[in-house]
């Protein structure tokens, strides 16, 4: 693992080569391993250790970045020269801010401790044992299993010539499993910083049950249905809207929130925060410039309250026509490394019902006269950027619920669904849980029961 002290040592050598007014260095990388299996056999088993440094130089309103994974003096000199060559020929940008000083990341602020020795010591034998647990469940149920068991120990750090330094490391243990029967399948996935929280056999049992319960799926015509979306399906859908949640997206007029901030655009039961300090969250407590992330209430009772801002975006917004129209404007610690085209986004999403009332998925099923239970969604893409219409498919466990019980599996659907309308039609939520999918980033989200979900086609399996 690349230690904090090593990043200082590299940065000191970088600075010797830099003739820029200001210099910044981001370090990132990991020791990561992933064991992959299919047909009840380990098919791929990989491990890598790689760290990169990314140097940004500022010459009076001109900036650029260069990256290398080599830390010898020649490579460091080359990376500084590359960044400098890219920066020097630019026109000066009056909106480019100087790099932040050390006060941007107060080390006395909230601590996030997400590194576990138990996770970092997992090796190929332990990963194979984790896979064996899942495969054993498959064999017990006469199913075929495919999936992954992965661990990593990663680091992110930023140091600059104004004395800012911020360092974060964390571990991760993740298991994902698809159980396959003759004409059906079931899926589960989870990850945690501490490997002791991960229970591959339990995930495998749930996936196996879904595969068996959805055997011999029947066809239901497309149309609008009440759906029960499990947390992975919820996060994979709503993740598409957070790219629009930064001030730069508003300035660029590419956000579905343009002309909608301060309005109640979702149901009153929708509350969303961005909170890297939440106990179920993971991630780094500073942004691409080293600014400490703040906890931001994005949506309260269906009203879009706040956006997130990088330092530069906040300064531009303050001078724009939007200054008094989009809620409090300040650097919130959500910026991407500069230069970039996107600006910023919230990436530590927590969704919870306002009054803490909740129903478990089983209770939602029990209360449903007719609904479709969705385990997972797939290949979600944006159809309309302003109405936020998304298309995609159900996958690996789609069920008809009638009279409070799961009746049978269903052939998978294609949906075309506006996220705005979806978040106006949420009638029940579970307690939020740490959840992970494949189409978006990890979140802390509940399962949701949603009326009038728009399925437009049915596929052949």
């Amino acid at each position: 693992m690349l230690a904090r002290e090593k990043t200082f040592e590299i940065f000191n050598r970088v600075c010797k080569h830099s003739k820029a007014d200001e210099t910044e260095m981001i370090t990132s990388g990991a020791k990561s391993s992933l064991t992959r299996f299919a047909n009840n056999t380990i098919t791929q088993n990989v491990s890598e250790e790689n760290y990169v440094i990314s140097v940004r130089v500022n010459f009076g309103g001109r900036t650029a970045r260069a990256t290398t994974n080599k830390f010898d003096d020649d490579s460091l000199q080359r990376v500084v020269e590359s960044a400098s060559a890219l920066a020097r020929v630019q026109d000066s940008d009056p909106d480019l801010l100087p790099i932040p000083d050390r006060s941007a990341f107060d080390p006395a602020g909230p601590i996030v401790a997400r590194t576990y020795f138990e996770t970092s010591k997992v090796g190929p034998v332990e990963r194979a044992e984790g896979v064996a647990q899942m495969v054993d469940v498959a064999k017990k149920h006469n199913l075929t299993a495919a999936g992954t068991y992965a661990t990593s120990e990663s680091v992110e750090a930023i140091v600059n010539s104004k004395g800012l330094n911020a360092y974060h490391s964390q571990t991760s243990a993740e298991a994902s499993i698809t159980m396959i029967a003759g004409d059906s399948s079931g899926w589960q996935k989870a990850n945690f910083p501490d490997v002791r929280d991960l229970d591959p056999a339990a995930l495998a049992e749930v996936a196996a049950r879904k595969a068996k319960d959805s055997a011999h799926p029947k066809e239901l015509p497309p149309g609008k249905y009440t759906v029960i979306l499990e947390p992975a399906a919820v996060l994979d859908l709503i993740g598409f809207m957070f790219w629009d949640w930064g001030g730069q997206a508003i300035l660029d007029e590419r956000s579905f929130l343009n002309n909608r901030i301060g309005e109640r655009i979702f149901g009153e039961n929708i509350n969303i925060t961005d909170d890297v300090y939440h106990p179920l969250q993971t991630g780094c407590p500073f942004d691409g410039e080293g600014v400490r992330r703040k906890r931001i209430s994005l949506v309260e009772n269906g009203v879009v309250q706040r956006l997130v801002f990088a330092r530069g975006t906040a300064a531009k917004i303050a001078k724009s026509d939007y200054a008094d129209k989009i809620g409090p404007v300040e650097a919130t610690g959500h910026g991407f490394p500069i230069p970039n085209e996107i600006g910023e986004m919230p990436s530590n999403i927590v969704v919870a019902s306002p009054d803490g009332k909740s129903k478990t998925v089983d209770q939602m099923i029990s209360s449903a006269e007719r609904a479709i239970l969705v385990t997972r969604l797939w290949y979600i893409r944006e159809v309309d950027p302003y109405e936020k219409i998304l298309t995609g498919m159900t996958r690996d466990g789609t069920f008809l619920v009638e009279n409070g019980r799961i009746q049978h599996g269903l052939l998978n659907f294609r949906f075309n669904q506006s996220l705005i309308h979806l978040l106006n039609n949420v009638v029940e939520m579970s307690q939020p849980v740490r959840s992970t999918g494949e189409e978006s980033f990890d979140m802390v989200v509940p399962a949701m029961m949603v009326n009038d979900f728009n399925f437009t086609e049915v596929t052949k399996f």
Partner: protein
């Protein structure tokens, strides 16, 4: 490099492995971008390291390191061996590799003008000129441009005795104009979405694309879309431009023919395939005029899937995938070839970089043009009533690659053999084999373009790969249109 590889192969041979390979990759990238008259991105990146793949005790292990000292490389080799032995604890049968000859060779992709030799000032000047043209159109609210260059040099050695050096240059360039008005965001891109056109060539690609000359038209179309009629819903004859047909091939032919998917090896993430092995030479995939090849050879053109050897040392080949409408071939590897009765891989194993293990990936999956002269104008002229689709905007397909839905940035109604009104938010959907069987015309070679898709994701950990797709405009009869917006309120 050979000395470094020998450290690996010596250790592996001493441990009695069935097979081992070492890939050393030295990669350099440059990315430049503008947004609304300012620099949106300016970055260089370089990466050097080694990936070691071993087959021991009938199972795979892979380890990668950026530490190219003898100690670093030997540690990684031992780790790969340790991983392979751990893999062997969960297996149903041993991995069997199809035999392959040893090759000693040196190859470079065609590159007339080294893109890294072009000054940064010249590149930024071009992007700013395009930006100025786009924003010169009233109503354009966001203009984005990009230029990307990559130099990818690889040294490959394996225990079969291969010693292969390959160098590829990739160039990508494009731009987009956005217009926000009322409750709509409309977008037009040139020459394609996904960052424009990408090929394994030098800067000569940039010079050929008439980038500045097309910018004003693209800006004007983005703005005009607000006043266009909504694409209707129903069944129509449709004509796809070559870039949209390229993506249609990628999603509904390229992915389902990946033999690892077919065999269930991607079931947890990318999915499986409707093309089970019993369908080989037993499925009418498309109409009689549908001919698709997987062609990695230089003769096919400078696509993102062109190489002389794949990443397990097998020569690039041309494999017929659909021949006169019949399904005739998969993309395979040394491990999977025997499952379809072949005794040799067709050379489709590719890795994103030194730190990723090779896996079956698309090469250049291209539809062959029609044999008789047919221009796009003639194709439209022979269409009584239909819709012409240009430039992809959204794409989605199920995990067996049956049901798809695509949207494009712009559409045009065809009436009486002529393009008439502009249509906004056009979409179409269907089932793969039904769709390809509805194709009744394809334009000729002079209308054919080898497009690059730079962002194909597959695998765990995910690998992003560039793939090539040659296509000419084509017509499909009676396709379902407009479903994307059906009932989406």
């Amino acid at each position: 490099m050979k000395e470094i590889a020998n450290w690996v192969l010596d250790i592996c041979s001493a441990r009695g492995v069935q097979y081992a390979e070492a890939r050393i990759v030295d990669e350099r990238q440059r990315a430049l971008a503008t947004k609304n008259g300012k620099i949106g991105g300016a970055s260089d990146a370089e990466s050097l390291g080694i990936g070691i793949r071993v087959l021991a005790n009938g199972a795979w292990g892979f380890a990668a390191t950026e530490d190219l000292t003898r100690a670093g490389v030997e540690t990684a080799a031992r780790l790969a061996l340790e991983i392979a032995h751990a893999s062997a604890k969960v297996k149903q049968e041993d991995v069997r590799l199809a035999p392959e000859k040893a090759y000693q060779d040196d190859w470079s992709s065609p590159c007339r003008i080294d893109p890294f030799s072009i000054s940064i000032e010249q590149n930024l000047d071009l992007l700013m000129k395009i930006d100025s043209e786009l924003r010169g159109v009233e109503g354009v609210t966001l203009a984005e441009t990009n230029l990307n260059f990559r130099r990818y040099e690889q040294w490959f050695y394996n225990t079969d005795g291969s010693d292969i050096h390959q160098l590829r240059h990739t160039t990508g360039v494009g731009y987009a104009a956005y217009s926000f008005e009322g409750s709509e965001i409309q977008k037009r891109s040139y020459p394609n979405s996904f960052g424009g056109q990408w090929q394994d060539r030098g800067y000569e690609l940039v010079e050929e694309l008439k980038l500045v000359e097309n910018a004003r038209r693209i800006g004007e179309e983005a703005v005009a879309l607000h006043k266009a009629d909504q694409c209707p819903e129903g069944r129509f004859d449709i004509v796809l431009d070559s870039s949209q047909l390229g993506l249609q091939i990628h999603e509904s032919v390229g992915h389902p023919i990946e033999l690892d998917r077919v065999l269930g090896m991607e079931a947890n993430f990318a999915g499986t395939s409707f093309l089970t092995v019993d369908k080989l030479r037993n499925l009418k995939y498309g109409s009689d005029i549908v001919n698709v090849v997987a062609d990695a050879t230089e003769a096919h053109g400078p696509g993102l899937g062109t190489f002389k050897y794949d990443d397990e040392g097998v020569p690039g080949q041309c494999t017929p995938i659909i021949s006169d409408g019949q399904f005739t071939g998969y993309l395979s590897s040394r491990e999977t070839a025997h499952t379809i009765g072949e005794n040799r891989s067709n050379g489709s194993m590719r890795a994103e970089g030194w730190n990723r293990t090779p896996m079956i990936r698309m090469t250049n999956i291209s539809i062959l043009p029609g044999p008789k002269p047919l221009t796009l104008e003639q194709l439209i002229a022979s269409t009584d009533h239909g819709i012409f689709y240009q430039t992809n905007r959204s794409w989605s397909i199920d995990d067996k690659r049956y049901n798809f839905q695509f949207g494009t940035e712009i559409g045009w109604e065809i009436k009486g053999g002529k393009l008439t009104r502009m249509l906004k938010n056009p979409s179409y959907s269907g089932i793969t084999t039904e769709f390809w069987n509805s194709m009744d015309a394809i334009c000729s070679r002079d209308q054919w373009t080898l497009w690059g898709t730079p962002n194909c994701g597959k695998g765990q950990p995910q690998q992003v790969m560039g793939t090539g797709h040659g296509a000419a405009p084509a017509r499909f009869r009676g396709v379902k249109v407009g479903t994307a917006y059906k009932g989406a309120e």
